[in-house]
Subunit: 117 residues, 2 copies
């Protein structure tokens, strides 16, 4: 079904580097590059005692990563818009950075206009 | 079902101010305040000829807004973590800023540990 944006919801489990701000930033930048997306801004925060939040604002929407090292888990979103963008190419890139054992993927098609109005 | 984060996916249709960077920023800040969330950073970009992207990085995860004024549409995500956070309180705040006629809401519970491992 065609909409205005493609939004991947990724659940990464059982990996490495979930407490590394450098890995989160590299994962954001490489995932954006894989999507041929234009990065407008990247913010990465490391929390005490553990956990990292990273957000890449894209000209084509956004990529976010929130990690819970204590649960061996990261919540990742890859949202792209535009005909050229394919967010699924980011999945192996993200998985590799974190060496995630298991990745659950859901795609939400955003901005599907109702046919009833 | 209990997870590590609550992620609301909101589709706003038929509103006003979708081309206003000031409205997007105010909506981000007021939505975060409604959730009693701590803002780490806010970025807002206006695109030519129209459309706005706004991202608020929160200590409790993130809020993002991407607008398509030409379709009378905005894609909004409100992702919160922590026991105290209730992202649903942001819904009327966001709706009011854009005077949206219709709001579709989906909640994705993030970080539900598998019982099978």
């Amino acid at each position: 079904m065609k909409g205005l944006g493609r939004h991947l919801i990724l659940e990464l489990w059982g990996g490495k580097n979930f407490n590394s701000a450098a890995t989160v930033e590299a994962a954001l930048r490489d995932a954006a590059a894989a999507c041929a997306a234009t990065i407008k801004d990247v913010q990465v925060y490391h929390y005490s005692p553990e956990g990292v939040t990273g957000v890449a604002v894209l000209a084509e929407s956004h990529i976010t990563i929130h990690t819970w090292p204590e649960y061996d888990y990261a919540a990742v979103d890859v949202f792209t818009c535009g005909d050229g963008a394919d967010p699924t190419v980011a999945i192996p890139v993200l998985r590799a950075h974190f060496e995630a054992r298991r990745v659950q993927v859901m795609e939400v098609v955003r901005g599907i206009a109702s046919c009833t109005e």
